[in-house]
Symmetry: C2
Subunit: 392 residues, 2 copies
Amino acid sequence: MISVRQALSLIQKHTVTPVATEVHIEQALGQVLAKDILSPIAMPPFTQSAMDGYAIRLSTDPKYKVIGESKAGDNIGYEIKKGEAVRIFTGAVIPEYTDTVVIQEHVEIKGNNIFITKLPAKGANIRLKGEQLSKNDLVLTKGHKINEASIGLLAGLGVQKLKIFQTPKTGILVTGNELQVAGTPLIAGKIYESNSVMLKSALKRNGFGNTNIYNVRDDISYTNKVIKKALSENDVLLISGGISVGKYDFVREALLSNSVKEVFYKINQKPGKPLWFGARDKKRVFALPGNPAASLVCFYIYVLPELRRQKGFTNRDLKISSGKLSRAQENRSGKSLFLKAKVNNTSVEILDGQSSAMLHSFSQANALVLIPESKKIIEEGEKVEYLELGYE
Amino acid sequence: MISVRQALSLIQKHTVTPVATEVHIEQALGQVLAKDILSPIAMPPFTQSAMDGYAIRLSTDPKYKVIGESKAGDNIGYEIKKGEAVRIFTGAVIPEYTDTVVIQEHVEIKGNNIFITKLPAKGANIRLKGEQLSKNDLVLTKGHKINEASIGLLAGLGVQKLKIFQTPKTGILVTGNELQVAGTPLIAGKIYESNSVMLKSALKRNGFGNTNIYNVRDDISYTNKVIKKALSENDVLLISGGISVGKYDFVREALLSNSVKEVFYKINQKPGKPLWFGARDKKRVFALPGNPAASLVCFYIYVLPELRRQKGFTNRDLKISSGKLSRAQENRSGKSLFLKAKVNNTSVEILDGQSSAMLHSFSQANALVLIPESKKIIEEGEKVEYLELGYE
């Protein structure tokens, strides 16, 4: 049995290099840029007014004759002479030979003339062509995580397509004769299947949508066939409830016949001990424990970081913070513990109901507290590290 | 001109009560529960083994005769007598008259018999029917924000449909003769339209997908018609670049002819001063500044909180934290400032490029620092409040 640290390190050692792909800007939100972006145009693309007012060539005489009007989007080609002004609006092209815009609040209008009541500084209220970016300037660098502001920035430069790291395709294969699909009353001895929709939701919330779901029943040749299909259709395959002592050889056999090599099985942790991880070429397989809370813990700790690496993220996925324990917590297990907790400010309350079969405490939690295997007791008020789950 | 606080309070005063709707469990992620959920079944639904091992009626004799096997999903109906055992696996039905499961590691097998090598406590390794939830127990309360663990929990109880607060429909109406659609070289005096895809992305990332986009050109009867259509198709309408002094009466006229009442116009803040907010019945209209950075600031500060209220959220949307300013910052404007910043641990660096036309600093930011209008200077190392943008 390996430690949490060893398991993390083995998965990272077997990581798959991110693959670049081109997408339309609307598909780029939340992705990682795979290539530097240089500006295809200057920004602003022309010298423009930053305010509503009057474009002038500044002199000591407060009187200017208004010779025309320029709105945003116009391209009239005015040329200003000394003593002349053009009525101008925010975003409009600055006429030739203009050096200043006086805002409308600092002007008195008399017929065709304006009189400046408060002298602006020379150059005021003008945005120079390229003052934000010159053509071919570096706009965003490879590795940038694309947010809505990046999207607006790129759209404003006319960028429509960009290279990002593609999202690995994920599949969930559900096994277990005890599982029943919702919609009909429970048959004695059966439970409703819940891990697939739970894991699919966890994937979706973390940016991995469109997960394929596969169901198998206990039939070796059928399982073989479905695993083969799932491996061909996905980059990362999660198997739910796949590998326990009871059926170890069965699912394992199907994986081995499909040339998936076992990297590790079982981690010295609670919950989530029976995690199995395997690799074949660029395919990765996580066989998660069947108990839902254990399955979700393994997802956050092991699956999500690897999925994000494959998508080009280099930062930590779920933020690790620390806070003070509100009640003492023992750890007699000699294992690493992952405990559902509620963090308020910096006070960390371990929730009741830590059984690997129980999801209620998980649904009420916002953090997973990490207790090292070597730690026998943590006193009230002692500092602990926790993973922020990012739940609302 | 009103203050930031007044604007927030006026929007909240005009909030629209959330509306409940029924959705399938797969659509419930990230939504707010509109009705308490009672458990339709007991959980576990039957008394089951928590481990792989042997079900027994515990006695002082270490020897038990194995009379059969029970896997998860089986419902064989064994009845155990004193001195008998059933080979049992995790999740399997506990046979009648069983009181204990001894794990397989604590057993020696000799033919048809087992010998217990380490005596378990009576009742060990058994999950009693209903120990997690009885039928009709309260599972999740109204107002709960549904995460993947809640989804797993509900799926495990066989819940397929649930009442959540519906997501308000959002539309973005884009105005401005200066705007050009990407794909062709820029015409002189024009700029690429970018606010719609930026705002649509901001909406999407915050749980408001499927936004309708409307484009209008400067034609009063056409604008009237499109605003009418947009109001009928959406609950919250964002108008981009709609209302400035230059065209104030024009867009305003179209809104007024559609019976939208002005609640306020202009806020004493920078950027984002020319925000307009109006209401008609249960429709809300935000006319955002045309400058992209100003538009995005108004979105986070004013639009998003209202959208989330309508969706049933009662908590703050973007978290407010505080940190220490890495460099002194002046505020000579007499306005409230919203400054793009990068927060590392608790050090807050105000970024260069705060112009309302510039998105580059926004794309590199992870926080918006809030500087009150009354504050003239904030010293290096002084504490400031900031809004976490939630960018990766």
